[in-house]
């Protein structure tokens, strides 16, 4: 049995004249948490749909859990779990009815299933709400139910499309703890998200721009590659005007507002914290404090998306 | 600018915006113009009581020259076709299966009786399941038998007492003259209610209605502004439908066309207003559509006199029908088109239509306020 849970080879999908996914190739190993980032409309959801067997690729192949998505979509579906972006369980039914339905959909029944259903309710902390009408529950709890329904049949691969969108930070942390445990137990997780701080949890990250996979590596490697320069965090007053004077000067790569201060990328050969502080102060800023910053995935994201297309290499 | 002038300007602005919406949405236009005409064509032909070539089973127990003459007399014309010449069990089977509707039973000894100077007795066996059809068949075949009876005795002398029947307004007793005006009203009613229910509630859902409320446009202006373009469409519909009736179904317009369009105008305001009211009250498009369809379908079909005469109904339903605007318009339509009735006869209908129109507009406008607050 292959150790590769997901294999995509030159995967493409065209809608009329619009190429939503353009020649995407990657693979994910068993137990890996694979992150997928990109702007809205970059092609993330389309990719997931193809991998789930919901949409047929117009070119290329993909294998999920050992099954080909084009020739054996039903087998793929039996081996995966899926949590969609928009909540898509039955709002008018109670929690346990949703669990029973999706369990049955996966062919689970009998006392074994009853035990599993109880276990899932416990794992997702839904025991109190088992008889509540799904529509009456707040968003965070609903997401837990969606996840619960996706893992009833112990799938080999779990697809999560922006699973924590609109969920409060505490719930998000619980969620990721749970995901990591699942991965540790051998489930491959494929997740898309806009929360770049969450993306740090991923083993590897793929970045999509305009349908193409333009970057694929561990978070650390990505930062080293795309944000090789010094990152500085600046605090002070009257920074906006002063920042304008810095932009465009040789060695200054990027000046972005960050909270109440600034976030700079500078060429480490030409600038350091003291030089930047001096430049800002002479441009009219006051009480300037400059500290080395930690490159974030947001920096990576901005760097990748902002660059011209031709410069991208998979 | 004076207040009335401002009022008109705002109404005009609302109306022209609505027109733009309509032009960009071809489905609305289809619903408004194509659907009623297409349906009228289909139903005008399809919904009728006039039958020809009615299948008849001959049960000739006599097999004589006289019986054959009678059979010939009955089957010679277009009214009846001989489906079988057999016995009663066969007739029963055929009528059960719908293969025949009537049987002419001539007993053995028929010719002998006649020759002996006694009356010949025959039976007309009719499928009673459909009462209307049965009546028609009986009347037709009775007439043919009677004619044969008279022809037999070669009445040189005129019968002492004759009845001459004149049918006013519809000498050939064509169903179309009865059905087409009714169908036209029915289709107009449905189209009108659905139109406004669809479009206005759509705006509620999109949220553009709330934006409107933020502006100084008043409720009545919104209502009128929305109504006017559809009123225009509706009058166009009415014209098309009347034209189809006249050209394809030969339904005349013996009375005043102006009166017809005036009645139509008032009727349309009422129906559009009903759709508007529904969409103001309903929370979303789906509910508005359902409520609109069902509230216009049943009353217009049953209680308007379109299909079934109102005077045949029990008191309660007759009273109920008095609040259905379709009833008055059907009456006016038939009156003007078939009977050439004028204002002196139809003024009551016009007043009723006007009252309904005013009431529903007022209701819709009032309901608007509740949603604002």
């Amino acid at each position: 049995m292959s150790e590769l849970s997901i294999e995509a080879v030159h995967l493409s999908r065209r809608f009329g004249s619009f190429l939503a996914v353009d020649d995407v190739s990657f693979s994910a190993a068993r137990g890996e948490i694979f992150g997928y980032l990109g702007a809205n409309g970059a092609g993330k959801s389309t990719t997931i749909r193809m991998l789930c067997g919901l949409l047929a690729p117009t070119a290329g192949q993909a294998r999920v859990a050992g099954f080909d998505v084009k020739s054996a979509p039903e087998s793929v579906k039996a081996s995966i779990g899926y949590m969609s972006q928009k909540f898509s369980l039955y709002l008018d039914l109670p929690v346990r009815a949703n669990i029973e339905f999706f369990g049955g959909a996966y062919g689970l029944s009998g006392p074994d299933f009853a035990a599993r259903a109880d276990e899932v309710l416990r794992l997702c902390d839904l025991e109190q709400e088992r008889n509540a009408i799904t529509g009456s529950l707040p968003g965070g709890i609903r997401q837990r139910l969606a996840l619960g329904c996706a893992i009833l049949h112990r799938p080999a691969v779990l697809f999560l499309d922006e699973p924590t969108a609109g969920v409060d930070p505490v719930s998000r942390r619980h969620f990721w703890r749970f995901i990591r445990r699942l991965a540790h137990e051998g489930t491959t997780i494929f997740v898309t998200t806009h929360y770049l701080d969450e993306a740090e949890y991923c083993g590897r990250i793929g970045l999509m721009v305009d349908g193409r996979l333009v970057a694929l590596d561990t978070p650390g490697a990505l930062k080293k590659r795309y944000v090789p320069d010094r990152v500085l965090a600046v605090r002070g007053r009257n920074l906006d005007e002063a920042a304008g004077s810095l932009r465009g000067r040789p060695g200054i790569i990027a000046v972005e507002p960050f909270g109440a201060g600034l976030h700079l990328q500078v060429a480490s050969t030409e600038w350091n914290a003291d030089l930047v502080a001096a430049a800002l102060t002479s441009a009219g800023a006051q009480a300037v404090e400059v500290e080395p910053g930690v490159p974030t995935l947001e920096d990576v994201f901005l760097a990748v998306v902002a660059r011209p297309r031709e410069a991208h290499a998979p | 600018m004076t207040r009335p002038a401002r009022f008109l300007v705002r109404v005009g602005a609302m109306a022209s915006k609505e027109v733009m919406h309509i032009r960009r949405d071809p489905r609305t236009l289809y619903m408004a113009l194509a659907m009623p005409v297409v349906m009228l064509l289909i139903f005008g032909f399809g919904v009728s009581f006039d039958m020809d070539h009615i299948p008849l089973v001959v049960l000739d127990g006599d097999r004589s020259a006289a019986s054959r003459a009678l059979v010939r007399a009955v089957s010679a014309g277009r009214e009846f076709d001989i489906a079988a010449d057999s016995d009663e069990p066969t007739a029963l089977r055929m009528i059960r299966r719908g293969q025949a509707l009537v049987a002419l039973a001539i007993p053995a000894g028929y010719q002998r009786e006649l020759a002996a100077g006694r009356d010949g007795e025959v039976q007309l066996i009719v499928d009673g399941a459909d009462g209307v059809v049965a009546n028609q068949i009986l009347a037709k075949i009775d007439g043919l038998v009677r004619a044969e009876s008279l022809r037999r005795i070669d009445v040189a002398a005129e019968p002492p007492l004759q009845v001459k029947v004149f049918t006013l307004f519809n000498p050939e007793a064509r169903s179309a003259l009865f059905m087409v005006p009714g169908l036209a009203v029915y289709l107009l009613a449905i189209a009108a209610v659905l139109l406004t229910a669809l479009t206005v509630s759509g705006e509620w859902e999109r949220g553009s209605m709330e934006q409107l409320f933020a502006s100084p446009v008043g409720r009545l202006e919104i209502v009128l502004g929305k109504l006017l373009p559809y009123l225009g469409l509706g009058m166009l519909q009415l014209l098309l439908v009347v034209a189809v009736g006249a050209v394809i179904f030969d339904v005349p317009i013996r009375g005043s066309a102006t009166l017809l369009f005036l009645a139509g105008f008032l009727f349309l305001i009422g129906m559009l207003g009903q759709g508007l009211f529904i969409s103001v009250v309903a929370r979303n498009q789906l509910v508005a559509t359902q409520a609109g369809a069902l509230s216009s379908l049943l009353p217009s079909l049953l209680l308007s006199g379109m299909l079934v005469p109102i005077e045949n109904m029990p008191r309660i339903l007759q009273v109920l029908s008095s609040v259905v605007p379709a009833r008055y318009f059907v009456h006016a339509m038939r009156g003007i088109m078939l009977k050439g009735s004028g204002l002196s006869i139809l003024w009551g209908d016009l007043v009723a239509l006007a009252i309904f129109a005013l009431a529903i507009i007022a209701l819709a406008t009032a309901r608007f306020r509740r949603r604002l607050a």
Partner: protein, 380 residues
């Protein structure tokens, strides 16, 4: 690894979910019980094609006792009702126009004298042709009465001269199946037919579209459930509801309106199930081509209207032009109403209606197959 899921488990899960959702939906429950009864009562009472007490204006220039006797006898059986006397001919036009009278009987001046002197006499009946059904009934009543009177007169005169009257042909009507020609036995099966097509077609059409709109459809499609099982699950509660409604309406029809039950109820049940399969099939087909619930509702509604009006429920199919009659061969509503009326009113058996049942079966299977194929394709 998970074994291939058993379709029995999947089907059970789908059916249970559908039933749960249906039972919770108050509108559906309303449709289940209230609406059918309401429609039965309204249709049953409202639709009456029998014409009685037709208001008739008597225009008499002849005030003789004989004329009055004729009038009395003509009005005796209740088909016609006295709507007033006048001597002005112009009032006839007016009253017919206002609708105060639907017929006018004109007895010319000197009628009695002419008859006594054995001179040919003529009465006139003027009808409002606006409603041809009613006109036919009135004309028939008048012709029959005066025809019989004329025959009696001829007989009397000839007998007075000692001549044997010539033999006439007497036609006696024998009405099979519904001797008093009442309307409810005709209409109540119509109510059942209309009810079924509206509830099953419209509701299933909207059901699938609703899942699409709410997004639950995608979640279900990601599971290994075969699309056809989904469709069967959607149909099941409404198959049951439809049959229940038919039973309800039939019971009400028999108790309240005296609808006869001449044929086999098993046949009625079989026909109902096959018909409901067809209507459900149409509903599902509509839902595969509609993106929103509202589209589905409109499509269903715009199908149901012609399907009902052109099925023989209200007006006879034989009265339609040939090209339309051919079209009705593809209308499952037609077959069902024919089966219902044949079995309930005429006591027809399987041997009489088998090909209609076969047609319904054929439609049902075809529609369901097409809907299922379309559905599977759409999600790929």
């Amino acid at each position: 690894m998970i074994a291939r899921p058993r379709w029995t488990v999947q089907l059970r899960a789908v059916v249970r979910k559908e039933v749960r959702q249906t039972v919770r939906d108050r509108r559906i429950m309303f449709m289940l019980i209230i609406a059918p009864l309401l429609q039965t009562v309204v249709f049953g009472f409202a639709v009456d094609f029998q014409f009685d007490h037709v208001p008739t204006l008597v225009v008499g220039h002849d005030a003789s006792a004989q004329s009055r006797q004729h009038i009395r006898r003509l009005l005796a059986d209740g088909t016609l009702r006295d709507a007033g006397h006048t001597t002005e001919l112009s009032e006839v036009q007016h009253k017919l126009q206002t609708g105060d009278a639907a017929a006018a009987l004109i007895l010319p001046a000197g009628l009695a004298r002419d008859l006594a002197a054995q001179r040919p006499a003529e009465v006139q009946v003027i009808l409002d042709g606006g409603d041809p059904n009613r006109a036919v009934v009135v004309a028939g009543a008048a012709s029959r009465y005066f025809g019989e009177t004329a025959e009696a007169m001829v007989k009397a005169r000839l007998a007075a001269r000692g001549i044997a009257p010539p033999p006439l042909i007497r036609a006696t009507p024998r009405i099979w199946f519904n001797p008093s020609l009442k309307t409810p036995p005709f209409m109540i099966p119509g109510v059942m037919t209309i009810l079924l097509v509206i509830t099953t077609t419209l509701v299933t059409a909207m059901g699938l579209s609703r899942e699409r709109e709410m997004g639950t459809l995608e979640q279900v499609l990601v599971t290994p459930i075969r699309p056809v099982l989904l469709l069967i699950g959607k149909m099941t509660p409404f198959l049951v509801i439809g049959c229940f409604d038919v039973l309800l309406v039939l019971t009400a029809g028999v108790w309240i309106f005296g609808v006869p039950l001449h044929g086999s109820l098993l046949l009625v049940a079989t026909g109902t199930v096959l018909y409901v399969l067809s209507t459900l099939g149409i509903g599902l087909l509509i839902s595969t081509v509609s993106r929103t619930q509202q589209q589905a509702f409109l499509a269903g509604f715009l199908f149901a209207m012609p399907a009902i009006l052109l099925s023989g429920v209200m007006t006879p199919i034989r009265a339609m032009p040939l090209w339309l009659q051919v079209v009705t061969f593809f209308n499952p509503v037609r077959y069902y109403i024919e089966v219902l009326r044949a079995v309930l009113l005429k006591g027809a058996g399987l041997v009489d209606v088998w090909w209609r049942l076969l047609a319904l079966l054929g439609f049902g299977l075809t529609l369901l197959t097409v809907a299922s194929l379309r559905f599977s394709k759409r999600v790929a």
